[in-house]
């Protein structure tokens, strides 16, 4: 906003990226310490530092991509940047909250920014539709969230995560209202991570939103919400026992199956990535199910692998969308001949998403599966494996389009250098993570 007034629009993106890098450095210096801030509303620990750094990196990459994306809309670029950074703020709150009130605040900051961004193409009806749809559905979920928090407060007398945990540990009988509250909280969060059967909003919203915002929603929001989810269940409901396990297991299975089966039929790339995101949410739920120290690193590794591959995919896809004016799989026809390098990048990103070595996606699947196995979720694991096989099919639809379909000569796709850089960086990181995961895995 300040930059707008000073008419410094051109430098706003470099400044934002440098600022994020500085914040990243500051965040990382907090490693190894557990400090409570703001009257113990927020607490930074290793978990929040790790996930927070990931969230900052994701935002940085998306902002880097936006330099070219918004070049025709210079007038509002500072607004967009501000809102994206607000999204990140919401995300960081969600990763470090230690109080239910902050959970609610974080989700609201995150979501409000996204409602605006989803509808940010003012003259495009589908963007408006996406914004409105997301807003209505999201508010509904927020209602559930508040109700859940209120019920839990009513029973335990506290918003504080650890207080709830100690209450659970000491209480002999827990009121059913508490369980109802947990259930409502669960519904709200599952809605936000777009797990089935609360996923209906996501394909429509992904499709209607500007592609860059879709990328942001598919990566940042998912990672952050899973971080929040994990934090809630590992600290507040650690003593809840198996009460929610069967429910999460059911949702995980359903999410994987619905996500993958529906993705099979998609011809729109954004919808395809939306459903693939739903399917990945299913795998991540397996990580939530098996909460332990190992599961933390498994979850973190999976989030990183998924986010890197998805951003790489969008970095290739956005220029293709813009050049061809279409978001269908057929827009990628013949890309392998026209732009072999970027086609190879997209191929590798998709292979990583499909979980094929040596990319990070493979070890990510391995860790999640291994956690599920050691916690005895055999049936769920089999479902997950069958789903990974299905997943390959639709990722390959894109690869096949690029390499086997004839080229449409009329469309010239230009990849700005930032996109090439971001895509190669993500693929490279995913390869490095896949070949040398030690530093990440030993974080926790």
């Amino acid at each position: 906003m300040v930059a707008e007034i000073l008419n410094l629009r051109k430098v706003i993106i470099p400044v934002a990226v440098i600022g994020l890098a500085a914040i990243l450095a500051l965040t990382i210096t907090d490693w190894g310490t557990t400090v409570a801030h703001y009257n113990d509303m927020v607490r930074t620990d290793n978990f929040s530092v790790a996930f927070g750094s990931l969230a900052i990196i994701i935002t940085g990459l998306v902002i880097a991509l936006s330099s070219d994306y918004y070049k025709n809309e210079q007038n509002h670029i500072s607004d967009y940047m501000a809102i994206i950074i607000f999204t990140l703020v919401g995300g960081l709150v969600l990763l470090s909250y230690s109080n239910m009130a902050m959970l609610f605040l974080g989700i609201e900051i995150l979501s409000l920014s996204l409602y605006v961004m989803a509808g940010s193409r003012k003259y495009d009806t589908s963007s408006n539709e996406a914004g409105l749809k997301y807003f209505l559905m999201g508010s509904f979920a927020s209602g559930f969230l508040l109700f859940g928090i209120a019920l839990i407060y009513g029973v335990t007398g506290s918003f504080h995560l650890e207080a709830i945990n100690t209450y659970l540990a000491s209480a002999t009988t827990v009121s059913p209202l508490f369980y109802l509250g947990v259930l409502m909280l669960l519904v709200a969060i599952l809605f936000k991570v777009s797990a089935a059967p609360f996923h209906f909003w996501s394909p429509d919203v992904y499709e209607g939103s500007p592609a860059l915002i879709t990328a942001l929603m598919a990566t940042l929001v998912k990672v952050v919400m899973f971080g929040a989810f994990y934090r809630l269940f590992s600290t507040a409901f650690g003593n809840l026992g198996d009460y929610t396990n069967w429910l999460i297991a059911l949702v995980a299975a359903l999410t994987m199956v619905v996500g993958n089966l529906t993705a099979l039929q998609q011809v729109n790339v954004k919808r395809l990535l939306a459903f693939s995101g739903i399917a990945h949410a299913g795998y991540l739920l397996l990580g939530i199910l098996s909460i332990s120290t190992d599961a933390t690193s498994a979850l973190f590794y999976y989030s990183a692998a998924y986010a890197l591959a998805t951003i790489a995919a969008f970095a290739v896809a956005i220029p293709v969308f813009q050049a061809s004016g279409s978001e269908l799989v057929s827009a990628f026809n013949g890309l392998g001949k026209r732009k072999p390098f970027m086609a190879a990048m997209l191929t590798m990103a998709l292979l990583s998403l499909a979980g094929i070595p040596p990319f990070a996606g493979f070890l990510a699947k391995y860790y999640i599966f291994s956690e599920a196995m050691s916690n005895g979720f055999f049936a769920l694991l089999l479902i997950a494996i069958v789903n990974s096989i299905i997943g390959v099919y639709y990722y390959f639809k894109l690869i096949l389009a690029m390499y086997t379909e004839p080229t449409d000569e009329a469309v010239v796709v230009k990849f700005p250098w930032v996109y090439v850089m971001v895509a190669s960086l993500c693929v490279l990181l995913s390869l490095i993570l896949g070949l040398y995961p030690n530093p990440v895995i030993q974080l926790f």
Binding site: D294, S297, G336, L351, I356, P357, P358, F362, L363, Y366, F369, S370, M373, S374, L381, L382, I385, S388, I389, V392, Y393, F396, L400, Y403, T404, Y436, P437, N438, I441, Q442
Partner: protein, 482 residues
């Protein structure tokens, strides 16, 4: 050190070829493959002089799960590496004098494939092995997809998903093994010494067996095979049939028999039945084929059925036979598919009915092709004879009825191979084959080398048996219940 050099050289070569130009690519690839072959020769001499200990590489890689860079070459691995590195220059040479667009990517992928195959044969750590196993799928998929026949898209996708499905079950199996292993590692010696309850072995066996059976393929997991062989470019078919399916049979020996002895004991009768039935089934289908490449695909299916049967006999004769036959089959099948490629290149058809009379037009090709066909049916003095003989002997020791039915393979293969040869090569020249040019220099070189190897190994197979035996004994010691 030597092992790492042997493994990584094709990877480097593949990148260099990718960076080179399209005109240079084939020659450069051939040069690299020959260097690699020379290196293999040197390794073999070191191996024979001072044993396998020198080749062990152990380096911690990933701490959690404990995956190490654990490579080694025992007799069995050495032979498979030899097969791979011997066939690679030949496969590349078959691509000379053919129009291949984007040749640098093509040959780069072939070398990448070599890297992955070597990794599979060398890895002594379960997950490392699994990574190479998966990695091998990617280059061959793109080779078949980008340079394959008209119907390649659905066929290759089926192939990919089919094999990947098998692999994922194997991954499931490996994860389970990891958690069952008190030492929490994938180290092969630990897996060999692990005590696994009978119930666990019973189902874990299938997790691994399905993956291998799809790759080999053993009936009823074979439905991807004929179409994929048919649609792949010649070099792809050679890689698939000559080397890649040996990944499956090799893995049976290396990762299935010694790790799950009780599982093997429990399921052997069933598997044996599948293998033997597969031999007869594939042979009969081969007789009916009208397309030369499909006929060869089904003949290959019959042969690997016998190889797998030999592996499950769990006696040293059967195992030795299977190793000899893996090598022989690799050499012979590459020769056969090359002959098919030569015919297709000149006539533009593979329909057996349309061909005929090539003998008069191309006498030298006729003679060389005949020798390879004879090797394929297992005539004495060819390499396949030793293999088939040992295999049938091994199966006979296991069960004479099975051997009787399995023995049909010799008769049936004679039927379909000779019928094919007769209709393709002999008879009257027709308008399709009248202008059949005799061999180019590269075709001569390839076929002559193959024929010489076929006959040499047929006359003096002793070195192969000597190299393989100690390794097979160790496998057998672990695989047979006391």
């Amino acid at each position: 050190m030597l092992t790492l050099l042997l493994l990584l050289f094709p990877l480097v070569a593949s990148l260099v070829v990718l960076a080179s130009g399209n005109k240079l690519a084939a020659k450069l690839a051939l040069l690299f493959a020959l260097v690699e072959l020379g290196l293999t020769g040197y390794c073999l001499s070191v191996f024979l002089l001072s044993g396998s200990e020198l080749f062990t590489v152990f380096q911690e890689w990933i701490t959690d799960p404990k995956i190490s860079l654990n490579l080694g070459l025992d007799g069995l691995s050495m032979l498979m590496v030899l097969l791979t590195n011997f066939l690679l220059p030949i496969i590349i040479l078959t691509g000379f004098n053919r129009v291949i667009d984007n040749a640098k990517a093509y040959f780069s992928l072939i070398l990448m494939m070599q890297f992955a195959l070597l990794g599979v044969f060398m890895a002594n750590d379960g997950l490392l092995y699994y990574i190479f196993w998966e990695l091998a799928l990617i280059p061959i998929y793109f080779i078949a997809l980008n340079w394959g026949g008209p119907n390649r898209v659905p066929v290759t996708l089926k192939f990919f998903i089919y094999t990947l499905a098998g692999s994922l079950f194997m991954l499931f199996g490996f994860i389970a093994l990891y958690h069952l292993n008190p030492g929490k590692s994938f180290n092969i010696t630990e897996l060999y010494n692990m005590v696994i309850s009978k119930e666990n072995q019973a189902w874990l066996f299938w997790m691994f067996f399905v993956a291998f059976a799809i790759k080999i393929p053993i009936i009823p997991f074979h439905t991807w095979q004929a179409d994929t062989y048919k649609e792949s470019p010649t070099q792809g078919t050679m890689l698939l049939s000559g080397i890649m399916l040996k990944m499956g049979t090799y893995s049976l020996l290396r990762w299935l028999l010694p790790v799950f002895p009780e599982g093997v004991a429990m399921w052997t009768p069933l598997i044996m039945g599948l293998c033997i039935a597969g031999i007869v089934y594939a042979s009969i289908i081969a007789i009916m084929q009208k397309d030369l490449k499909r006929l060869l695909a089904y003949s290959s299916l019959a042969h690997v059925g016998l190889i797998s049967a030999g592996i499950f006999t769990l006696n040293i004769t059967g195992l030795e036979g299977s190793v000899v036959q893996m090598l022989s089959h690799g050499v012979v099948v590459v020769g056969l598919f090359f002959a098919a490629d030569i015919i297709y290149h000149r006539t533009n058809t593979l329909e057996i009915d349309k061909l005929g009379g090539i003998r008069t037009a191309a006498p030298q090709f006729n003679t060389l092709f005949l020798i390879i066909v004879l090797a394929s049916v297992g005539l004495p003095l060819t390499n396949s004879f030793i293999g088939e003989f040992l295999l049938l002997l091994g199966v006979f020791q296991y069960n004479y009825i099975a051997a009787g039915i399995g023995g049909l393979t010799i008769i049936l293969s004679a039927v379909y191979m000779f019928r094919m040869f007769q209709r393709v090569m002999l008879g009257k020249t027709n308008e399709v084959t009248v202008n059949f040019a005799d061999l180019h220099w590269n075709e001569k070189v390839v076929l002559w080398i193959l024929v010489i190897v076929i006959i040499a190994a047929g006359i003096y197979p002793q070195p192969i048996l000597a190299i393989a035996e100690p390794a097979l004994r160790i496998i057998l010691d672990n695989a047979v219940l006391n």
